[in-house]
Symmetry: C2
Subunit: 220 residues, 2 copies
């Protein structure tokens, strides 16, 4: 019974996600789904990213949070439309919430939508939101064993941003463990090591974003 | 429909949790439910705690993980019985799994059971496992805003272990924000600042544990 319900829920979610994906294709808008543990640095990443992109691209953010508008409040300062989804205890976003959040934007005036998912390494990876790609954000203080312990996210993602690389020497994080595990789980995944604190790697992240936006514009 | 199912699930979970609580009371075993984000340091905390307690107390661990036996393998080295629960994608433990895990232990020979929940700040807080107390493990690199963003865990917990205090100066974590938020969410909660790396605060944590074990032994 419960399994059937979950199956129905996941199927309904994927159907809606496919509709959203087809819908955004018409507008040539790139949508990225940022997923991480609580405190890995998704919001700070957006704070560092938005000022460097908003002169060239039109960007919006869908901000998922269990409670509070704190992260949304941090991002509206960058003069981008932010649509807040409070899950009221829910541990992930679902495509039906994305559909509602999109209704708040003028889609004729957007190139890129960031979804900041609820801070959670487990369930967000199971729910397709109609995005073009999932981006996993990891941070070095979380430890080098997260890839094997939460493999679905790393199987599903196109890019890993390994954040807080400035803290590497202060932690026990071993790069070789992380990269060996990652290669085993998803040999095709790309990694960019970044620090939102000292700016390391952010140029590479912006280049990756620009290539993805350009590819989306050219896609039929 | 989905809401009814969730309600039934939570009610069934609480009923089973109450049975477990009553059952362990007969054995005067203290059971603690450790909850944190991925990588906040629950397993390392147990690695530092077990060697200092096993000469005086008989301890077992129920190890919850989405996949892998990595954490369980780290803990069996300390010569304690470890019962592994792999949730196969599930983002939290439920009381029915605890009942099964307990069957692996000789309860006549235990004083203390640690449950290491799945790394997740959201759902584990919703599921009573029959524990005597929930212990929230936070770490400074996660940021000082987690209390307000994931308030249920902090409302439900009796103790917060603020881990990785050795990284405080390398992060933007502001103690006053953390403590102000915590007081608002749960004025009665106790906090111990710890570092599993340099040992800070671990004596206080052990004293807290010993008081809890003694109180359990004396309870009717």
């Amino acid at each position: 019974m419960q399994i059937t319900i979950l199956q129905n829920l996941l199927e309904a979610n994927e159907k809606k996600a496919a509709e959203i994906r087809a819908f955004l294709r018409g507008y040539k808008i790139l949508m990225l789904n940022l997923i991480s543990s609580p405190g890995a640095g998704k919001t700070t990443l957006l704070e560092k990213t938005l000022p460097r992109l908003t002169q060239r691209y039109r960007i919006a953010v869908i901000e998922g949070d269990v409670e509070t508008a704190r992260d949304a409040a941090r991002l509206v300062r960058y003069n981008v439309p932010v649509s807040l989804v409070n899950t009221q205890g829910g541990c992930h976003l679902e495509s039906v919430s994305i559909e509602k959040a999109l209704a708040a934007f003028n889609l004729n005036e957007l190139d890129l939508i960031f979804i900041e998912n609820v801070g959670n390494l487990v369930c967000p990876a199971e729910f397709d939101l109609g995005e073009d790609a999932k981006v996993a954000v990891m941070s070095t203080p979380e430890g080098d064993d997260k890839v094997m312990k939460y493999p679905l996210l790393f199987r599903e993602s196109e890019l890993v941003l390994l954040n807080k690389i400035d803290l590497l020497s202060a932690t026990d994080f071993k790069r070789d463990v992380f990269y060996t595990d990652l290669k085993q789980v998803n040999a095709a995944i790309k990694v960019i090591e970044i620090s939102c604190k000292n700016g390391a790697g952010l140029d590479q992240w912006l280049e990756w974003l620009e290539r993805k936006i350009a590819a989306k514009k050219q896609a039929q």
